[in-house]
């Protein structure tokens, strides 16, 4: 039984992905949650996971300079394409923030004056939440976010879903359209795009829609804070009709979003509100579409 993966992205940051992921997660009967915004993970602040496993994540390698072997020939500095090595007399400075881990300095040093060690990238966790198991991660400061950790989180979520016979995985995705988003989106069954009715929101939505078409994945759209700009909300609804996207619904601008977050709560559980009712309707529509 292949679990169905639904990913929530936005293009633009701050449209409400995490709050809405948490809310939808509370409505699914059985699910695995995956926080793939490994760079700036926030889902744990509303779903309150109890960590049951925490492991290191290693990916790629990084050079380690061996001073005693170095003859300061400058080959590494010349060959490094990322300006990560600078030599000043008999001092070599290796800037790990710029280093891509390609290994050119290691392989081409005539004196073999570099070691090439496993690179620690962060932690990944498996947790229990009241909605189901959750897989999440924390990228180390300055660590490369090549999408590998995102792919890893998804893979673990799939393994748990299969072993516990859970048929749905809900993924909180990252902003943008680069490799972490690509890693979060490829091979999923459905993409939910959360947007806002602003010039930035619609511009960024167009780019993530293009990405979903590039990967041939069906997508639906939710407009958050819709009453901020009715004209643009209408434009977005028209766009959905014209481009074969499912319009899942629209949420009003409501301080309850922030209040629930401040309380460390899920919007669904915080209080009765129009937002809660609308999210339930959106959930009903989404479930129909996925099944």
């Amino acid at each position: 039984m292949e679990p169905k993966e639904v990913v929530i992205i936005s293009g633009k940051g701050g449209t409400g992905k995490t709050s809405i992921t948490g809310a939808l997660g509370a409505l699914f009967k059985k699910l695995v949650l995956a926080d793939c915004d490994v760079d700036a993970a926030d889902l744990h602040l509303i779903v309150k996971p109890e960590v049951i496993k925490k492991e290191d994540f290693y990916s790629g390698h990084e050079p380690k300079w061996i001073e005693e072997k170095c003859v300061f020939c400058g080959t590494c500095e010349e060959m490094c394409r990322f300006d990560a090595i600078s030599i000043d007399g008999t001092k070599l400075h290796l800037d790990l923030n710029s280093c891509e881990g390609c290994g050119v300095c290691v392989h081409f040093c005539p004196e073999e004056a570099f070691l090439f060690e496993d690179r620690w990238c962060g932690h990944w966790m498996v947790s229990k939440t009241k909605y189901g198991p959750m897989v999440h991660a924390k990228l180390g400061i300055g660590a490369e976010n090549s999408g590998k950790l995102v792919s890893f989180v998804r893979q673990k979520a799939r393994e748990i879903a299969i072993s516990e016979n859970i048929d749905k995985i809900l993924i909180d995705g990252p902003p943008g359209i680069g490799c972490p988003v690509i890693a979060a989106v490829t091979g999923t069954h459905f993409v939910v795009i959360i947007t806002e009715p602003t010039v930035s929101g619609i511009h960024d939505m167009e780019r993530v829609v293009a990405l979903t078409k590039h990967f041939n994945i069906p997508a639906g759209v939710i407009v958050n804070k819709w009453d901020l700009n009715e004209d643009i909300t209408y434009k977005i609804e028209e766009k959905c009709k014209n481009e074969g996207l499912i319009f899942l619904g629209r949420l009003p601008y409501d301080p309850v979003f922030t209040k629930a977050q401040m309380n460390g709560s899920n919007i669904i559980e915080y209080s009765e509100s129009q937002v809660k009712d609308t999210i339930i309707k959106i959930y009903d529509k989404l479930i129909n579409v996925i099944n």
Binding site: D42, G142, G178, V199, L228
Partner: protein, 283 residues
């Protein structure tokens, strides 16, 4: 003077701060839209188009007549971007980091390097502001090479404002590094504080003096204020939540053009940022 506007959390107001700051100052400014995955600055600046340059990275090209299928390129590649199967060499351009390792290692000199398009740099002008916008092609995975090329437009003798992408990983680091000072934009909520702390760690690691702008400062609670006080981190500006400002924003308006008090606020922000850079202390 290179001023980088970053955040951690998306949607806190980086672009709003970067563009309004650029528009408010009374001298020549270079504005770099480094959020190359979702560049928004020109939606607000509405600058006149000047020119465009296409951005490329180097990727390997194999001359099959010279290739003997030895597989050394595949062994050396850290990114699995070049694979040799049954003496046939396949390249996965999306994974290639353009490091040149395969090009250098090939004993038959069968690999050359060719350009692969990743996006474009658009140049716009509006009054005192020269905007260079990086726009990554949809489907291209890596933002940092485009950001690096975009930064070649920095003019050391002018005020340069860099609008960073959200997050704290490689695209943000590529934008932030070598800046003289950073403005971290946040909001007073749990997500805002959580992500601000990450952004602060990265900025400290890069040894860049920084201060914080709190957007929608009266929505939420005082957790961000308390944290900044505790860490002795300067608050450069606070913008109160204003639904009218939000509506103007939704239409792509510049607040400094629409509401004169904001122009004064942003001029004060500029002065505080210059002071911070002069002090050179990393909080």
């Amino acid at each position: 003077m290179k001023i980088c506007v970053a955040s951690g959390k998306g949607g806190t107001g980086k672009t709003t701060v970067a563009v309004n700051l650029a528009a408010a100052v009374d001298e020549e400014v270079v504005l770099l839209d480094c959020d190359v995955e979702e560049p928004n600055a020109n939606l607000f600046l509405q600058g006149e188009f000047v020119d465009k340059e296409i951005s490329y990275v180097k990727v390997p090209k194999v001359d099959e007549s010279l290739c003997d299928g030895c597989g050394k390129c595949s062994e050396i590649c850290e990114f699995k971007a070049i694979i040799v199967i049954e003496k046939v060499c396949m390249i996965f351009y999306d994974l290639c980091h353009s490091c040149g390792a395969c090009y250098h290692i090939c004993p038959q000199r069968a690999i050359s390097e060719v350009d692969r398009r990743i996006g474009e740099i658009n140049h716009y002008k509006r009054h005192n502001v020269q905007l260079y916008e990086g726009r990554l092609d949809v489907g291209v995975a890596m933002a940092p090479p485009l950001i690096k090329q975009l930064k070649r437009h920095i003019k050391e003798d002018k005020i340069c404002i860099l609008d960073a992408p959200p997050g704290t990983s490689c695209p943000t680091i590529e934008t932030l590094k070598d800046s003289d000072v950073a403005i971290l934009v946040t909001e007073p909520t749990p997500f805002g504080l959580n992500d601000l702390i990450l952004a602060i760690e990265v900025t400290r690691q890069l040894n860049i003096p920084f201060g914080v702008v709190i957007n929608r400062s009266d929505m939420g609670d005082d957790r961000v204020h308390n944290y900044l006080k505790q860490e002795n981190i300067p608050i450069l500006m606070e913008i109160k939540h204003d639904i009218e400002v939000a509506k103007l924003y939704s239409k792509g308006k510049l607040i400094v053009d629409e509401i004169p008090e904001y122009k004064d606020m942003f001029l004060q922000l500029k002065d505080r940022v210059f002071e911070l850079s002069k002090e050179g202390i990393v909080a």
